[in-house]
Each structure stands twice: as C-alpha cells, then as structure tokens.
C-alpha cells in the first residue's frame, strides 16, 4: 500500500509537464478542428448557398457585402460544404473573444455579379470599429475594473440554460492540460466572492430569476462573460418560447466568447481579455 501512495506522487514527476503552452504558443489544434470558416472574397459570387445552409442564420449576403456573425456561428462547416465556388474554407481560428457584440461580425466585400456599379459596399459601422462609441464611458469604467482584477480573477460559473457542452469545456479548464489556475483564475462557490460571472446558455425562463439574483449577489465591480453562441445570440435555440436569445437581454455583457462550445483555449483567451491581459501573438 505505501508503494501505491508513493507512486501517486512520483508518477507526475516521471511524466513531466502535462500542461499546454497556450497562450504563449498557438492553440495545439488538429487540422480537422472546426473554427470560424474563412471567406475568400475574390472567389465568392454571392449566390447565397451558405446563407440557406446555416442552421443559425449567422450569414448574410447582400450585394457587395458578405457578413458572418461569429456570435451566432456554431462552426459546423455546413456553409463550407455547400459553397458552389469553393470560396468558403474550413479554418481552425478560435481566438475570437471580443468586448463588443458588433466586433464579432466579419465583413467581406466580394465583387460578385450582384455588386452595385461603382460604389463599393459602404464601410459598415456595424462591423467596423471607427464609429462613434456611445459606450466609451462604460468602457473606461470597465478598464478601471480590469485594473483592479488584473492579477487574479475569481469566477462564478452560471449555467443559464445550455446544452452543457460549454459547461464541460469550462470544467476542462481545471484539468492538468489547461490548468487555468496558472493565470491566477479560480472558480468560487459563491457569487459574493466572484469578480466575474461566466455565463453559458440562452437564459431560459425557468432560470431567469435565479440568474439575475446570482448577478445581483455579486459585489461591484463585476464583469459578465457570455460563453458560446447560445449566451451571445441564442445559438441553435434562438426564437424559442422557453427563453431569451442570449443573456444580453437580461445581463450587461463585458466579454463575448464565440464557439459551440468554445474550446478551452478560447475560454482562456476570453478570460485573459477580461483581465486586460490578452496580447495577440506576433
């Protein structure tokens, strides 16, 4: 028996480090790993086959403008499979977290046969970052909060009506491979101890009261992170009688992490973004 106990402690030493090198290294993903698909605007003829194939209505195609909403995309590659010109490509991009909903919309401007003469699609303020920021004051406040929590972050997970995929990925953050505690991030049992509410799911009616009360129980300053397509936009469950189309209808969201579910690396990126510690690799 003592040998077993000894083995329990010596084994990790023999095995070496199990933890990933993310985020210093790029996420270690297989070629098949599905992230946000990428459009080659030169090859796109705007037939709209992708629009019809998308299960969540994440794609819009108008003359001269093709938009993909990463906040709705479930990364199923159904659009890639139907693209008649091969303009849409499978890709493994998963570092998509953003602070504002509109930053999640990818705008491409294919020439396409249906593009109007002369005038290129207007540099749309919906997707661009240059428009006047009405919420600049709010962002400054958020900056102050992040300065306060930058070195450590206490997270309260809240399932607001998910398929549990996101929750299992949040759970995976604590396994030795992802080991989120190396960033000073830890999960706490009570909202009263939390800096950030990490919310998965659409916000179902049966949970809304409990979710709002959880948020209200948190001390200020407090951040809310929307995890996954459901929390951002309702995902595949948008339009249901049983809930909302995303938690933003009920809670103020500071960071959005796309995916269905977001891989643990994507969750780490979003958490670092919330702490103002995310720096894109060179």
């Amino acid at each position: 028996m003592p040998l077993d106990v000894l083995d329990r402690y010596l084994r990790p030493l023999r095995r070496g480090r199990a933890t990933s090198g993310y985020p210093t290294a790029a996420p270690d993903l297989a070629p098949a790993a599905r992230g946000l698909p990428v459009l080659d605007p030169a090859a796109c003829d705007l037939t709209g086959a992708c629009v019809a194939a998308c299960p969540t209505g994440a794609i819009e195609a108008a003359p001269g403008a093709w938009r993909l909403d990463a906040g709705k995309c479930v990364m199923c590659d159904a659009c890639v499979a139907v693209c008649p010109t091969g303009a849409l490509h499978h890709a493994s991009g998963i570092e998509l977290a953003a602070r504002r909903r509109r930053e999640l919309v990818v705008l491409q401007q294919p020439a396409g046969p249906r593009a109007p003469q002369g005038e290129p699609a207007s540099a749309d303020d919906e997707a661009g970052g240059t428009a006047v920021d009405l919420d600049a004051a709010g962002l400054r406040l958020a900056e102050a909060i992040r300065r306060g929590v930058g070195r450590s972050l206490h997270v309260r997970h809240l399932d607001a009506g998910s398929c549990n995929g996101c929750d299992w990925e949040v759970n995976a953050l604590l396994n030795p491979y992802h080991d989120v505690q190396r960033f000073g991030v830890d999960f706490v049992a009570s909202p009263r101890h939390a800096d950030v509410l990490l919310v998965t799911g659409t916000m179902t009616r049966n949970l809304e009261e409990a979710a709002v009360r959880t948020y209200e129980a948190m001390p200020e300053p407090r951040l809310v992170i929307a995890v996954g397509a459901c929390a951002i936009s309702g995902g595949v469950f948008a339009g249901s009688y049983a809930g909302r189309d995303g938690i933003g209808e009920v809670l103020p969201v500071d960071v959005l992490i796309p995916g269905c579910p977001p891989r643990p690396e994507a969750l780490i990126q979003g958490l670092l973004l919330a702490m103002d510690r995310w720096r894109p690799r060179a």
Partner: protein, 505 residues
C-alpha cells in the same frame, strides 16, 4: 444491415391505456416512452397519448389513445407503470392532457412562473410566443415533524455543474426524502424542431445535450432514415459504432474521475481528467469537434473522418485504455475511497425496475439490459458488446460497471476501426410520407434514449420527442438518497452522472 425491429401499433380507448401498457410490461416488456400529441396537424380533431414498450427479442409495442380537445384527460398509467410518472407530468404541462389519478399533480417542465393554460406543444400556439410571467410559487415536498428540517440546494450550485433544485428533508445528517426539481434548462427544443426540415432539425436535436450528442444524433438519424426509407451505407453504420463508443469512452473516463471529485480525491480527478482531455482531443482530430458534434446526420455522416487521425486512433485509444486501467487500480486500492463508495446510494433491483432505470444505473443494480445487444442498431449486430452487470446497486457497483464498460468500449473502438469498410459515407434521403412515425432507441453513455418522430408535410418535422437516458434515471437518483448522509449526495449524484440538459430539453 441491422434488422428493423418489429413495431406494432394498437389503438386503445383512453381508459384502457394503463391496462394495455401494464400488460405489456408485465409480459416482460420494458417501458420506453410516452408521447403527447396534437392530432390537428395530421387531420385529426383532438389530442392523443402514445406509450411505447420495448419487448426484448420481439420489438416495439405502441399503444395510442385519443383524448378530446375539450377537457382532455385519461386515467394515468403511472399507478400501473411507475416509470411513466415524469412523462405524464410533462405531457400535462406541454399539451394540457391530464393524467387522472397521477400521484404527483405538480408542474414539472413549465415551472410556476408560466401562466395557467399555456401548453406550447399545442399546434395552435405560435412557436416564438413568450407568454407573460405568472406569479405562483413552487410547492416543495417536505417532511415536517420534531427534529426534521429541510435543506434547499440550488438551482445554482457551488461547482461547475448544471442547474437543478434539490430539497432535502433530513433529521440530523440522515436524509429522509429528496425532492429533485429539474427542467431549469428547458429550451423548448421539440417545439423549435416542428416545421423544420428533417435535415435542418439535426443540429437542434444533437444539442439536446453536449455530451450525449452522438447517441441522440444516431437516434435522430435512424428515425429520419426510417420515415424517409433511406438505406445507409455500411461504412457510415460502422463509423457510427466507432463514434458512439468514443462518446461512451470519454464520458465514462470523465465520470469515473468525477466520482472521485464527489469525495474530494484529487489525484483521481486529475489523472482521469487528463485522460478524458486526451480522448476529447482525439475526437477533435478525428471529426473536428471535441464532443463529436456535426458528424452523424440522417443519411450517413456529414463528413469523412480525418484519415491521419483514424490511422493513429487504435494505438492512441489502446494507450489511454492502459493508463485508465492504471488509474482505476490506484483508486480501487485506496481504502478511503472505497469505504466512501461502498454501501452509498444503494438502488435495489426492484426500485430500478419499477422506476425504469437504464444504463449503468440499471446494470449496477443487476438488471441485464443494453439496447446495443437487445435491439441492435447501426453495426452493433456484428459487434455486440459483452454487457457488464453488478449486483450491489451502490456507488461502488456503478464505479466498477462504468470502469469495465470503458474497457469494453475501447475494445469496440479498435474493432470498429479495423472493420471500417470502404465506400460511401452518405446517401441522399428518400421522400418522407407525412404522418409516418418512427421510434428509435439508442444506448448512450447514460443508458437508453428513446426518440419518437412523426413526419409532417414536405419532409418536415411534425412532432419529435426525445426521452433521454438521464430523464429516465433522475427519479432513481432521488430514490437512492434517502437513508444516506446529506454530505454523500455529491458522490451519489456523480455516481449516476446524469445530464440535466437532455432531461430538460
């Protein structure tokens, strides 16, 4: 490839439903599912209730009873077949059909904040309709008396887990009764699916649950293939077995680790958590998704399995299986762990049978049932698992059954990878006949899930109901807890390791 199960449909009078289902179960059948229907979409005038019983070796028996639109009611099946109790409460909430004589008249799926008389699965209720909040309170089942107290827990829990409300009635630390209230994550999937095309509803059904997606995906695909009379290529059928066993493997390995988390045994959690991570990363390499979503579709597979990942899979899975066995040995040799597991959360065979337990929860109580063997689908006819049972019915028995099933799953993964025939992976669907019904059962990581599908006009969904394995097993958890200590609940709960999401839908 797989022979289609014989299905019989018997129309019974509303007051004869309970007796008909009861006779079928008494004759050796296993209660499968009960579905509420609004017949107005298929030319009928009223509502209906249909119960399905699986007869091992014989097939499926469907019993249909019409009920009128005005004052819809029928004598409850639950007093005769207790396994129907949640189904009947769900049908009452979602369709307004009252099971007269049901022992628990409380709401189940639509909590008290939903208005009276709102039944979303009625065909005249619009899909996106969000009715105003009602102001009524939950009526808990509590024990009162000298020394007795109640302990409300949830719906928001202290860990990274799904939401549910548990109300313990206890004296000291000893639990007298547990009232489990779920359906907090009810997303209205079945209504959302209605009217969509049979192919278009796939991502929705698959996402009833993030970690049972292959099981539910196969149940869905088979139901659609049945109503569209589509013959799936052999390669896809073997690949479905491969994917289903990969799903069982990562779930079981993770769940064994989570049982250690239930008693705070950190080295077991870390070791098995790391092995589970390696398994889901292998899934990612093979299919592009860590939880195998977006691969099983009606007609076959959505895409090819990654060639390089497939070639590397047998060695990878065999290596992980060896490490899992080592981790299990270390856990089993820890007296402190096994002392907690033994005699905790005991479910007798009688209780498991009466409540319709399924999967590990049933087999650990001595019930020898597994749809992969008893109603073979996909390519299980040629790759039958050896079914593992134990007699203890306690957390230790569920641990052992799960550990041995993980080994067996790894074996089937290797066998399926070796057998994978060349050829097409997907065929176009045939035309569905409106009104056709298919009932499919699939043995997922948590047991048998049943899917009931009726096709609508032009290849759409008229009605779908998914009764997941977790749905069947939750009442068994509630029955396993009384007599145990309150602090043993996390372990008992994790020894079943049920999903809330596919229960609530």
């Amino acid at each position: 490839m797989a022979e289609t199960a014989t299905v019989t449909l018997t129309h019974v009078a509303a007051d004869g439903l309970a007796a008909a289902v009861g006779q079928s179960v008494a004759a050796g059948g296993r209660y499968a599912t009960l579905v509420g229907l609004d017949e107005r979409s298929v030319g009928g005038k009223g509502l209906a209730v249909e119960a399905v019983v699986m007869r091992p070796g014989l097939g499926l028996e469907r019993f249909r009873a019409d009920v009128p639109l005005e004052g819809p009611a029928y004598p409850s099946v639950t007093p005769v077949v207790p396994a129907a109790h949640w189904d009947e409460r769900e049908v009452r909430d979602l369709l307004g059909i009252v099971p007269v004589g049901h022992p628990d008249p409380r709401r189940l799926v639509l909590h008290e904040r939903w208005p009276r008389g709102y039944h979303p699965l009625r065909k005249d209720v619009p899909a996106g309709d969000r009715p105003p909040l009602a102001d009524r309170r939950f009526i808990p089942f509590e024990v009162h008396g000298e020394g007795a107290y109640t302990l409300p827990v949830g719906p928001i829990h202290a860990g990274i887990i799904e939401p549910g409300h548990f109300r313990f009635s206890a004296i000291g630390e000893r639990v007298l009764h547990l009232d489990a209230r779920l359906f907090f994550t009810h997303r209205g999937i079945e209504k959302l699916a209605e009217g969509r095309t049979l192919e278009g509803a796939t991502p929705l059904i698959e996402r009833a649950c993030g970690v049972c997606g292959v099981a539910h995906g196969i149940a869905w695909a088979q139901a659609v293939e049945a109503v569209t009379v589509t013959e799936v290529p052999a390669r896809a059928l073997v690949a479905r077995v491969l994917l289903a066993e990969l799903e069982r493997l990562y779930n079981h390995v993770g769940d064994l680790g989570n049982m250690c988390a239930g008693i705070g045994f950190a080295s077991g959690v870390a070791r098995l958590g790391l092995l589970r991570e390696r398994l889901v990363r292998a899934n990612d390499g093979l299919t592009g998704h860590r939880y195998l979503a977006g691969i099983v579709v009606p007609g076959g597979l959505a895409r090819s399995l990654d060639e390089a990942a497939l070639a590397a899979l047998p060695a990878l899975v065999a290596g992980i299986e060896t490490e899992v066995a080592g981790a299990i040995r270390a856990i089993v040799r820890s007296d402190g762990v096994m002392a907690r597991f033994r005699a905790t959360g005991v479910v007798s065979a009688e209780t498991a049978l009466a409540l319709g337990a399924t999967g590990v929860a049933a087999r650990a109580s001595g019930i020898d049932a597994d749809l992969r063997r008893d109603l073979p689908y996909a390519a299980y006819g040629e790759m039958a698992p050896s079914v593992v049972t134990a007699s203890g019915g306690d957390a230790a028995a569920r641990f052992h059954v799960r550990a041995q099933e993980a080994t067996e799953s790894a074996r089937i993964v290797l066998e399926a990878a070796g057998r994978l025939p060349a050829g097409d992976e997907r065929v176009p669907l045939g035309r569905a006949t409106a009104g056709d019904v298919a009932v499919t059962g699939v043995e997922g990581p948590r047991g048998a899930s049943w899917l009931w599908l009726r096709a609508g006009a032009d290849g759409t969904v008229d009605r779908v109901r998914l009764r997941s394995a977790s749905f069947a097993n939750w009442p068994v958890v509630a029955a396993a807890v009384p007599g145990n200590l309150v602090p043993d609940f996390p372990l008992i709960n994790k020894s079943f390791e049920l999903c809330y999401a596919c229960t609530d839908r």
